[in-house]
Protein backbone atom coordinates (compact mmCIF):
# COMPACT_ATOMS: atom_id res chain seq x y z
CA UNK A 1 0.00 0.00 0.00
CA UNK A 2 1.90 3.05 -1.25
CA UNK A 3 1.52 6.56 0.08
CA UNK A 4 -1.05 8.74 -1.65
CA UNK A 5 -0.71 12.10 0.09
CA UNK A 6 2.74 13.61 -0.32
CA UNK A 7 4.40 16.58 1.29
CA UNK A 8 4.83 18.92 -1.65
CA UNK A 9 4.53 22.56 -2.41
CA UNK A 10 0.84 23.27 -2.66
CA UNK A 11 -0.33 20.44 -0.41
CA UNK A 12 -3.18 21.58 1.84
CA UNK A 13 -2.83 20.37 5.41
CA UNK A 14 -4.72 20.66 8.66
CA UNK A 15 -2.87 21.86 11.74
CA UNK A 16 -3.56 19.36 14.52
CA UNK A 17 -1.59 20.80 17.43
CA UNK A 18 -0.69 24.15 18.88
CA UNK A 19 -1.96 27.68 18.61
CA UNK A 20 -3.22 27.25 15.04
CA UNK A 21 -5.13 24.07 15.87
CA UNK A 22 -7.86 23.30 13.33
CA UNK A 23 -6.65 25.69 10.65
CA UNK A 24 -6.26 24.72 7.01
CA UNK A 25 -2.83 25.73 5.70
CA UNK A 26 -0.90 25.32 2.47
CA UNK A 27 2.68 24.02 2.42
CA UNK A 28 4.61 26.64 0.48
CA UNK A 29 8.16 25.40 1.11
CA UNK A 30 10.08 22.66 2.88
CA UNK A 31 12.69 23.97 5.29
CA UNK A 32 14.38 20.76 6.31
CA UNK A 33 13.59 17.18 7.19
CA UNK A 34 11.20 18.18 9.97
CA UNK A 35 9.80 21.57 9.16
CA UNK A 36 7.75 23.21 6.47
CA UNK A 37 6.90 26.77 5.67
CA UNK A 38 3.11 27.12 5.68
CA UNK A 39 0.79 29.89 4.70
CA UNK A 40 -2.93 30.60 4.74
CA UNK A 41 -4.97 33.56 3.52
CA UNK A 42 -5.63 34.92 7.03
CA UNK A 43 -2.36 33.96 8.66
CA UNK A 44 1.22 35.19 8.74
CA UNK A 45 3.45 32.79 6.85
CA UNK A 46 5.53 30.73 9.28
CA UNK A 47 7.32 27.47 9.94
CA UNK A 48 5.67 24.45 11.45
CA UNK A 49 6.81 20.93 12.26
CA UNK A 50 5.41 18.16 10.04
CA UNK A 51 4.31 16.35 13.14
CA UNK A 52 1.82 19.17 13.74
CA UNK A 53 0.27 18.74 10.29
CA UNK A 54 -2.25 16.27 8.93
CA UNK A 55 -2.09 16.11 5.14
CA UNK A 56 -5.30 16.30 3.15
CA UNK A 57 -6.18 15.13 -0.36
CA UNK A 58 -6.29 18.65 -1.70
CA UNK A 59 -3.37 20.10 -3.63
CA UNK A 60 -3.14 23.47 -5.33
CA UNK A 61 -0.84 24.77 -8.06
CA UNK A 62 1.54 27.39 -6.70
CA UNK A 63 5.17 28.39 -7.21
CA UNK A 64 7.56 28.02 -4.27
CA UNK A 65 6.75 30.63 -1.57
CA UNK A 66 4.18 32.63 -3.51
CA UNK A 67 3.02 36.09 -2.66
CA UNK A 68 -0.08 36.23 -0.53
CA UNK A 69 -2.15 37.51 -3.46
CA UNK A 70 -0.98 34.63 -5.68
CA UNK A 71 -1.73 32.16 -2.96
CA UNK A 72 -5.25 33.47 -2.49
CA UNK A 73 -5.90 33.40 -6.25
CA UNK A 74 -4.63 29.83 -6.51
CA UNK A 75 -6.85 28.77 -3.63
CA UNK A 76 -9.85 30.36 -5.32
CA UNK A 77 -9.23 28.63 -8.65
CA UNK A 78 -8.74 25.28 -6.94
CA UNK A 79 -11.85 25.96 -4.83
CA UNK A 80 -10.16 24.65 -1.73
CA UNK A 81 -12.83 25.86 0.70
CA UNK A 82 -15.72 24.11 -1.03
CA UNK A 83 -13.76 20.93 -1.68
CA UNK A 84 -12.86 20.78 1.98
CA UNK A 85 -16.36 21.42 3.22
CA UNK A 86 -17.78 18.76 0.89
CA UNK A 87 -15.21 16.13 1.80
CA UNK A 88 -16.24 13.66 4.50
CA UNK A 89 -13.36 14.74 6.75
CA UNK A 90 -14.34 18.37 6.42
CA UNK A 91 -18.01 17.62 7.03
CA UNK A 92 -17.17 15.66 10.17
CA UNK A 93 -15.19 18.59 11.56
CA UNK A 94 -18.04 20.96 10.86
CA UNK A 95 -20.47 18.67 12.69
CA UNK A 96 -18.08 18.37 15.64
CA UNK A 97 -17.82 22.15 15.89
CA UNK A 98 -21.59 22.50 15.68
CA UNK A 99 -22.12 19.94 18.42
CA UNK A 100 -19.57 21.56 20.72
CA UNK A 101 -21.31 24.92 20.38
CA UNK A 102 -24.74 23.58 21.31
CA UNK A 103 -26.64 25.34 24.07
CA UNK A 104 -28.30 23.38 26.90
CA UNK A 105 -31.66 24.17 25.25
CA UNK A 106 -30.30 23.05 21.87
CA UNK A 107 -29.16 19.77 23.36
CA UNK A 108 -32.67 19.20 24.67
CA UNK A 109 -34.14 19.88 21.23
CA UNK A 110 -31.66 17.44 19.66
CA UNK A 111 -32.66 14.81 22.19
CA UNK A 112 -36.35 15.29 21.40
CA UNK A 113 -35.64 15.10 17.68
CA UNK A 114 -33.65 11.88 18.09
CA UNK A 115 -36.45 10.28 20.07
CA UNK A 116 -39.04 11.30 17.46
CA UNK A 117 -36.86 9.97 14.65
CA UNK A 118 -36.22 6.69 16.44
CA UNK A 119 -39.90 6.28 17.11
CA UNK A 120 -40.84 6.90 13.48
CA UNK A 121 -38.27 4.36 12.32
CA UNK A 122 -39.44 1.71 14.75
CA UNK A 123 -43.07 2.25 13.86
CA UNK A 124 -42.33 1.88 10.17
CA UNK A 125 -40.21 -1.21 10.78
CA UNK A 126 -42.92 -2.81 12.89
CA UNK A 127 -45.44 -2.10 10.16
CA UNK A 128 -43.24 -3.70 7.51
CA UNK A 129 -42.67 -6.73 9.71
CA UNK A 130 -46.39 -7.18 10.19
CA UNK A 131 -47.08 -6.93 6.47
CA UNK A 132 -44.31 -9.31 5.44
CA UNK A 133 -44.00 -12.10 7.98
CA UNK A 134 -40.84 -13.90 6.93
Amino acid sequence: MPFKRYVEIGRVALVNYGKEYGRLVVIVDVIDQNRALVDAPDMIRGQINFKRLSLTDIKIDIPRVPKKKTLIEAMETADVKNKWEKSSWGRKLIVQKRRAALNDFDRYKVMVAKIKRGRAIREKLAKLKRENPA
Binding site: A100, L102, N103, D104, K109, V112
Partner: protein, 232 residues
Protein backbone atom coordinates in the same frame (compact mmCIF):
# COMPACT_ATOMS: atom_id res chain seq x y z
CA UNK B 1 -23.09 84.88 61.02
CA UNK B 2 -25.13 82.28 59.21
CA UNK B 3 -23.54 78.83 59.32
CA UNK B 4 -21.67 78.32 56.06
CA UNK B 5 -20.81 75.14 54.17
CA UNK B 6 -17.46 73.73 55.31
CA UNK B 7 -14.65 74.35 52.80
CA UNK B 8 -14.18 71.43 50.44
CA UNK B 9 -10.50 72.12 49.73
CA UNK B 10 -7.95 72.65 52.50
CA UNK B 11 -6.05 75.94 52.46
CA UNK B 12 -2.87 74.06 53.32
CA UNK B 13 -1.71 71.88 50.41
CA UNK B 14 0.01 68.61 51.32
CA UNK B 15 3.62 68.31 50.29
CA UNK B 16 3.85 64.77 51.63
CA UNK B 17 1.16 63.02 53.67
CA UNK B 18 1.61 64.56 57.13
CA UNK B 19 3.48 67.67 56.07
CA UNK B 20 1.66 70.77 54.89
CA UNK B 21 3.14 73.59 52.93
CA UNK B 22 2.38 76.30 55.46
CA UNK B 23 3.39 76.66 59.10
CA UNK B 24 0.99 77.15 62.01
CA UNK B 25 1.47 80.89 62.09
CA UNK B 26 1.01 81.18 58.32
CA UNK B 27 -2.19 79.13 58.54
CA UNK B 28 -3.46 81.34 61.38
CA UNK B 29 -3.04 84.29 59.08
CA UNK B 30 -4.55 82.51 56.04
CA UNK B 31 -7.65 81.43 57.93
CA UNK B 32 -8.23 85.01 58.96
CA UNK B 33 -8.52 84.28 62.68
CA UNK B 34 -6.95 87.74 63.27
CA UNK B 35 -9.78 89.34 61.25
CA UNK B 36 -12.52 87.43 63.09
CA UNK B 37 -10.93 88.40 66.42
CA UNK B 38 -10.76 92.04 65.41
CA UNK B 39 -14.43 91.94 64.37
CA UNK B 40 -15.46 90.53 67.75
CA UNK B 41 -13.39 92.84 69.92
CA UNK B 42 -10.18 90.93 70.55
CA UNK B 43 -11.52 87.45 71.32
CA UNK B 44 -12.62 84.61 69.10
CA UNK B 45 -16.42 84.17 69.44
CA UNK B 46 -17.39 81.15 71.51
CA UNK B 47 -20.62 79.42 72.42
CA UNK B 48 -21.54 79.31 76.09
CA UNK B 49 -20.69 75.91 77.44
CA UNK B 50 -23.66 73.54 77.42
CA UNK B 51 -25.13 73.09 80.91
CA UNK B 52 -23.81 69.78 82.15
CA UNK B 53 -26.42 67.18 83.12
CA UNK B 54 -26.84 67.28 86.93
CA UNK B 55 -24.99 64.38 88.56
CA UNK B 56 -27.33 61.83 90.12
CA UNK B 57 -27.32 62.58 93.85
CA UNK B 58 -25.54 60.08 96.15
CA UNK B 59 -23.82 57.81 93.68
CA UNK B 60 -23.07 54.65 95.65
CA UNK B 61 -19.66 53.06 95.12
CA UNK B 62 -19.95 49.82 93.07
CA UNK B 63 -20.24 46.59 95.07
CA UNK B 64 -17.87 44.70 92.85
CA UNK B 65 -14.59 45.61 91.24
CA UNK B 66 -13.36 43.00 88.77
CA UNK B 67 -9.84 41.77 89.54
CA UNK B 68 -8.59 41.95 85.98
CA UNK B 69 -9.16 44.62 83.42
CA UNK B 70 -11.61 43.40 80.87
CA UNK B 71 -11.14 44.75 77.38
CA UNK B 72 -14.34 46.10 75.85
CA UNK B 73 -14.78 44.66 72.37
CA UNK B 74 -14.64 47.05 69.44
CA UNK B 75 -18.16 47.55 68.01
CA UNK B 76 -18.73 45.73 64.71
CA UNK B 77 -19.66 48.23 62.03
CA UNK B 78 -19.70 45.72 59.14
CA UNK B 79 -22.69 45.92 56.85
CA UNK B 80 -22.53 42.86 54.58
CA UNK B 81 -23.44 43.56 50.95
CA UNK B 82 -25.55 41.14 48.93
CA UNK B 83 -23.46 38.71 46.91
CA UNK B 84 -22.40 40.03 43.52
CA UNK B 85 -24.64 38.58 40.86
CA UNK B 86 -22.86 36.74 38.07
CA UNK B 87 -23.06 38.56 34.74
CA UNK B 88 -24.64 35.52 33.11
CA UNK B 89 -27.64 35.67 35.47
CA UNK B 90 -30.24 38.24 34.38
CA UNK B 91 -33.97 38.31 35.10
CA UNK B 92 -35.58 35.62 32.97
CA UNK B 93 -32.52 33.37 32.71
CA UNK B 94 -33.13 29.63 32.87
CA UNK B 95 -31.03 28.20 35.71
CA UNK B 96 -30.10 24.60 36.47
CA UNK B 97 -30.29 23.78 40.19
CA UNK B 98 -27.36 21.70 41.33
CA UNK B 99 -28.27 20.85 44.90
CA UNK B 100 -31.20 20.51 47.23
CA UNK B 101 -34.66 19.07 46.87
CA UNK B 102 -35.00 20.22 43.26
CA UNK B 103 -31.58 19.11 42.10
CA UNK B 104 -31.35 18.96 38.31
CA UNK B 105 -34.47 21.01 37.65
CA UNK B 106 -34.46 23.84 35.18
CA UNK B 107 -36.07 26.94 36.65
CA UNK B 108 -36.62 30.58 35.78
CA UNK B 109 -34.74 33.32 37.65
CA UNK B 110 -36.85 36.28 38.72
CA UNK B 111 -34.72 38.63 40.78
CA UNK B 112 -31.99 38.87 43.41
CA UNK B 113 -33.27 39.47 46.95
CA UNK B 114 -31.59 41.88 49.38
CA UNK B 115 -29.94 38.96 51.19
CA UNK B 116 -28.15 37.99 47.98
CA UNK B 117 -30.21 34.87 47.33
CA UNK B 118 -31.92 34.38 43.98
CA UNK B 119 -35.71 34.30 43.72
CA UNK B 120 -36.78 31.54 41.34
CA UNK B 121 -39.94 29.80 40.22
CA UNK B 122 -40.48 26.56 38.24
CA UNK B 123 -43.08 27.67 37.12
CA UNK B 124 -44.92 25.42 39.53
CA UNK B 125 -47.28 23.76 37.04
CA UNK B 126 -44.41 23.05 34.64
CA UNK B 127 -41.92 21.34 36.93
CA UNK B 128 -43.18 21.53 40.53
CA UNK B 129 -40.71 24.14 41.76
CA UNK B 130 -42.53 26.86 43.72
CA UNK B 131 -41.41 30.42 44.42
CA UNK B 132 -38.17 29.75 46.21
CA UNK B 133 -34.88 31.22 47.24
CA UNK B 134 -31.67 29.69 45.96
CA UNK B 135 -28.01 30.45 46.41
CA UNK B 136 -26.09 31.58 43.36
CA UNK B 137 -23.30 29.13 44.09
CA UNK B 138 -25.52 26.10 43.58
CA UNK B 139 -26.77 27.10 40.18
CA UNK B 140 -25.64 26.89 36.56
CA UNK B 141 -26.84 29.76 34.42
CA UNK B 142 -27.81 28.75 30.89
CA UNK B 143 -27.90 31.19 28.02
CA UNK B 144 -31.64 30.63 27.49
CA UNK B 145 -33.79 33.56 28.56
CA UNK B 146 -37.53 33.78 29.15
CA UNK B 147 -39.47 36.98 28.67
CA UNK B 148 -40.22 38.16 32.19
CA UNK B 149 -41.66 41.60 31.46
CA UNK B 150 -45.20 40.61 32.36
CA UNK B 151 -44.29 39.43 35.85
CA UNK B 152 -44.40 41.65 38.93
CA UNK B 153 -42.02 40.50 41.65
CA UNK B 154 -41.84 43.67 43.72
CA UNK B 155 -43.67 42.27 46.73
CA UNK B 156 -41.23 39.42 47.34
CA UNK B 157 -38.36 39.85 49.76
CA UNK B 158 -36.59 37.76 52.39
CA UNK B 159 -39.26 38.39 55.03
CA UNK B 160 -41.80 36.65 52.77
CA UNK B 161 -39.80 33.44 53.07
CA UNK B 162 -39.13 33.61 56.80
CA UNK B 163 -40.17 30.51 58.73
CA UNK B 164 -43.05 30.85 61.21
CA UNK B 165 -41.79 30.76 64.79
CA UNK B 166 -42.97 27.61 66.60
CA UNK B 167 -45.17 28.36 69.57
CA UNK B 168 -43.42 27.43 72.85
CA UNK B 169 -45.57 24.79 74.50
CA UNK B 170 -45.49 24.05 78.16
CA UNK B 171 -43.54 20.92 78.91
CA UNK B 172 -46.12 18.83 80.63
CA UNK B 173 -46.15 15.08 80.83
CA UNK B 174 -49.27 14.72 78.70
CA UNK B 175 -48.04 16.89 75.85
CA UNK B 176 -44.68 15.13 75.87
CA UNK B 177 -46.23 11.85 74.83
CA UNK B 178 -48.95 13.27 72.67
CA UNK B 179 -46.67 14.53 69.84
CA UNK B 180 -48.88 17.27 68.57
CA UNK B 181 -49.38 16.80 64.89
CA UNK B 182 -49.25 20.29 63.55
CA UNK B 183 -50.87 20.37 60.17
CA UNK B 184 -48.65 22.43 57.95
CA UNK B 185 -51.03 23.82 55.41
CA UNK B 186 -49.79 26.20 52.77
CA UNK B 187 -51.66 29.52 53.24
CA UNK B 188 -53.94 30.51 50.37
CA UNK B 189 -52.01 33.79 50.03
CA UNK B 190 -48.89 31.90 48.95
CA UNK B 191 -50.86 29.86 46.44
CA UNK B 192 -52.32 33.03 44.97
CA UNK B 193 -48.88 34.64 44.78
CA UNK B 194 -47.55 31.61 42.96
CA UNK B 195 -50.40 31.78 40.44
CA UNK B 196 -49.97 35.52 39.97
CA UNK B 197 -46.30 35.08 39.11
CA UNK B 198 -46.72 31.96 37.00
CA UNK B 199 -49.58 32.86 34.65
CA UNK B 200 -47.78 35.61 32.67
CA UNK B 201 -44.62 33.52 32.80
CA UNK B 202 -46.30 30.46 31.31
CA UNK B 203 -47.74 32.59 28.51
CA UNK B 204 -44.21 33.72 27.66
CA UNK B 205 -42.95 30.14 27.85
CA UNK B 206 -45.66 28.77 25.57
CA UNK B 207 -44.63 31.31 22.97
CA UNK B 208 -41.30 29.54 22.46
CA UNK B 209 -41.38 26.08 20.91
CA UNK B 210 -40.07 23.24 23.09
CA UNK B 211 -39.41 25.58 26.02
CA UNK B 212 -42.13 24.12 28.23
CA UNK B 213 -40.82 20.60 27.73
CA UNK B 214 -37.29 21.85 28.34
CA UNK B 215 -38.25 23.37 31.67
CA UNK B 216 -40.12 20.23 32.62
CA UNK B 217 -37.11 18.00 31.99
CA UNK B 218 -34.30 17.50 34.46
CA UNK B 219 -30.68 18.09 33.55
CA UNK B 220 -28.72 14.83 33.40
CA UNK B 221 -25.20 13.83 32.54
CA UNK B 222 -24.71 10.93 30.19
CA UNK B 223 -21.78 8.63 29.56
CA UNK B 224 -19.25 10.54 27.56
CA UNK B 225 -20.51 14.06 28.27
CA UNK B 226 -17.80 16.20 29.77
CA UNK B 227 -19.31 19.01 31.85
CA UNK B 228 -16.24 21.20 31.48
CA UNK B 229 -16.65 21.08 27.70
CA UNK B 230 -20.39 21.74 27.68
CA UNK B 231 -21.67 25.09 26.57
CA UNK B 232 -24.60 26.23 28.67
Amino acid sequence: MAPSKPRSKSRNPLLIPGIGKFSRSKMYHKRGIWAIKAKHGGTFPRHDPKPAAPEPASKKPPKFYPADDVKTPVPNRRKPKPAKLRASITPGTVLILLAGRFMGKRVVFLKQLPSGLLLITGPFTVNGVPLRRVNQAYVIATSTKVDISGVNVDKFDDKYFAKDKKKAYKKSESSFFETEKQEKKLPQQKKDDQKAVDTPLIKAIEAVEYLRGYLGTKFTLRSGTKPHELQF
